[in-house]
């Protein structure tokens, strides 16, 4: 067990995957020589050489499409898109090609590619360097989407994604890259689609993922001081998502809230709320509440961005409302 930063856990997962499987290659802008915009791929060019680690031109659609073609031809490419906002340029390749190849070719093959990309605000990245667009991909049959919140998951979910035969989008979080946490010497590889209960509680089920796990845990701690017992579930994977784990918790607490940094409208929380309102209807003692970003672009100024992001006070207020 060693204390490691989140970004180093990503790096170690790449190293271990590349050592374990010579078909794993890396593609992305500035990932080789410069070691990546957030240094997730630092030293990998030196360790594995230019035939495994590629600095690509600034051409996100081509990076993604090449990953698909390489995956269909025997490699396991891991592509990096520097900011999740730039994934808009890759949409055809992800939505019409990677997601559909297995199904539309009648199961002849799979597309074992991974696309790593960071989302999230808090760095004053502004409207085009801060968005959380994961719900778009969760909406597309054929794609998987994981969002590691802990150092151990930054390693484990990336290994699981690289091992997975289907295209997986690994959404990292810029605000978490510098975070320290424990990484076991032999970390387990989690199953994609399995949530984790990060704090047990009896009164409220709080479902979240990504960096909002930490804000939610603080809010749960604060609520405990007021006598509220909040169970915090880290989804870890939003496509597929662990419906059973959420329902199991709801059967205990009878109150449900969802917290995410992405815009609330038509988001991951909407899907969870709709499913639980259906299969968990008899368990509910209160309306399902979402705490998420308002319906606006992510603003630049720290004064505005701070207001835009879901915060501990907003989550606490929602817990109080749910307990009332």
């Amino acid at each position: 067990m060693a204390e490691t930063r989140y970004v180093r856990a990503v790096n170690r997962a790449l190293v271990d995957a590349m050592k374990a499987d010579p078909s794993v290659i890396l593609l992305g802008e500035d990932i080789a020589n410069a070691g990546g915009s957030f240094k997730a791929t630092r030293d990998l060019l030196q360790e594995f050489g230019p035939e495994r680690v590629y600095d690509t031109p600034i051409a996100e659609a081509a990076i993604t499409g090449m990953a698909i073609g390489a995956a269909l031809s025997g490699l396991r490419p891991v592509a990096e898109i520097m900011f999740m906002d730039f994934i808009t340029l890759s949409m055809d390749m992800l939505v019409n090609q990677a997601a559909k190849a297995r199904y539309m070719f009648g199961g002849q093959g799979s597309v074992p590619m991974v696309l790593r990309t960071p989302h999230g605000g808090s760095l004053s990245g502004g409207p085009q360097h801060s968005q959380c667009l994961e719900a778009w991909f969760a909406h597309v049959p054929g794609l998987k989407v994981v969002v590691p919140a802990t150092v151990e998951d930054a390693y484990g979910l990336l290994r699981a994604a690289i091992n997975d035969p289907d295209p997986v989008i690994v959404v990292e979080n810029k605000a978490l890259y510098a975070m320290k946490g424990d990484l076991p010497d032999n970390p387990a590889t989690p199953l994609i689609g399995e949530a984790a209960v990060r704090r047990e509680g009896a009164d409220v089920t709080l479902v979240t993922y990504g960096a909002m796990l930490w804000t939610s845990l603080k809010a749960a701690e604060a609520a405990a001081g007021d006598g509220g017992s909040v169970e915090v579930i880290d989804l870890r994977s939003i496509q597929p998502w662990d419906e059973e784990a959420v329902l199991r918790s709801l059967q205990k607490t009878h109150r449900l809230m969802i917290v995410h940094e992405a815009v609330e409208a038509f988001g991951v929380g909407a899907e969870i709320a709709a499913r639980m309102a259906d299969i968990g209807f008899d368990e509910l003692d209160a309306p399902i509440i979402r705490v998420a970003a308002p319906f606006s672009p992510v603003p630049f100024s720290p004064a505005l961005e701070g207001e835009w992001r879901p915060s501990e006070p907003k989550i606490l207020a929602a817990i109080s409302r749910l307990m009332a």
């Binding site: 499987d21 269909l72 019409n96 190849a101 070719f105 002849q108």
Partner: protein, 327 residues
């Protein structure tokens, strides 16, 4: 027009492939009229010689990807006719189990990475495939077939750049039929493909895409160099789309008489002439035509007898089943 020194047997193979494609396309044209083909159908009649010639120089390890007008590329790569017809008819025994249809015929075992419904989308997939083939180091190449309309897509430019930068064995094979769907390409593109290739310092060659002898000579040189030098190449094949963008297209946007004019350049007519020039007997041509037609009819009969997909399989293969997972 140079005939080069094309070995007769190779020209005969190319001719046979072109006839296979023509017979299949004529069959589908009629099935469409009869209401038996669901969805959209883009026929490649008039363009058969291109893929027929390219495939003469492909090995099983080479990969190919295609576009919405992809039947010829698929059949030329060696895909079996029965599952091909079955796919386009939406049957369970189709190449893709009836999930893809005409625009998504694929045979991954043969390195046919799929036709594609998005113009230009095969280009990056092929470029990535070429990277994998280059790393494998066995001299294999990846071919992408696209039309002149696709040259306007941004990904074409991104991938020409990368293919040159990384010296990837991608054959950018343009079937230039002059039409970007319903619009003349001269109104769509400010650049000639030759100049675009030149801008990226990629080797370029053009050929008469309706003449099997000219295609044979061009492809032999282009693919030979690609295998020796591991380089990308742009091959522009001037050809003719004599059908509409898709079947049912009235083509009222075409200049009057253009289709009749283009039909004079029919690749099969030209091919028969070339074979005669090389001393191939008319009997061989007639026998080949009859043989191909019989195989076509048998494949069609089998495909028409095939069952429709079971609705219970609707959700199968959205993801890879767990028991086949790696690692």
């Amino acid at each position: 027009m140079s005939n080069g020194n094309a070995p007769v047997e190779e020209l005969k193979n190319i001719y046979r492939r072109a006839v296979v494609i023509r017979e299949a396309e004529k069959t589908l044209q009629q099935l469409f009229v009869d209401g038996k083909v669901p969805g959209f159908l883009h026929l490649t009649i008039g363009q058969e010689a291109v893929a027929s010639a390219v495939s003469e120089f492909l090995t099983p390890g080479d990969t190919v990807s295609s576009n919405h007008r992809g039947h010829g590329h698929t059949l030329a790569k060696g895909v079996d006719l029965t599952p091909f017809f079955a796919e386009i008819l939406g049957r369970a025994t189709g190449l893709c189990g009836g999930r893809g249809g005409s625009m998504h015929v694929a045979d991954l075992n043969l390195g046919m990475l799929g036709a594609n419904g998005i113009v230009g989308a095969g280009v990056p997939i092929t470029t990535g495939s070429a990277l994998a083939l280059k790393l494998r180091g066995q001299g294999e190449i990846a071919v992408v077939y696209f039309g002149d309309g696709a040259v306007a897509e941004g990904l074409m430019h991104e991938c020409l750049n990368i293919a040159k930068l990384w010296s990837l064995p991608v054959l950018f094979c343009c079937e230039n039929n002059g039409w970007s769907e319903f619009s003349p390409t001269e109104n769509q593109l400010a650049v000639k493909l030759a100049d675009l290739a030149g801008a990226f310092s990629i080797d370029y060659r053009e050929a008469d895409g309706n003449d099997i002898a000219d295609m044979h000579e061009a492809v032999a040189e282009v693919i030979g160099r690609m295998r020796r030098e591991c380089i990308p190449y742009v091959l522009e094949c001037h050809t003719t789309r004599v059908r509409g963008h898709f079947e049912g297209d009235k083509q009222d946007y075409r200049p009057e008489g253009q289709v009749d004019e283009l039909s004079k350049r029919d690749p099969l007519t030209i091919a028969r002439q070339r074979l005669a020039d090389f001393g191939v007997a008319g009997e061989w041509v007639d026998a080949t035509d009859a043989e191909v037609r019989a195989a076509n009819d048998a494949a069609l009969e089998a495909a028409l007898a095939a069952p429709l997909p079971d609705p219970a399989t609707l959700l199968v293969d959205v993801y890879t089943p767990k028991d086949t997972c790696h690692g």
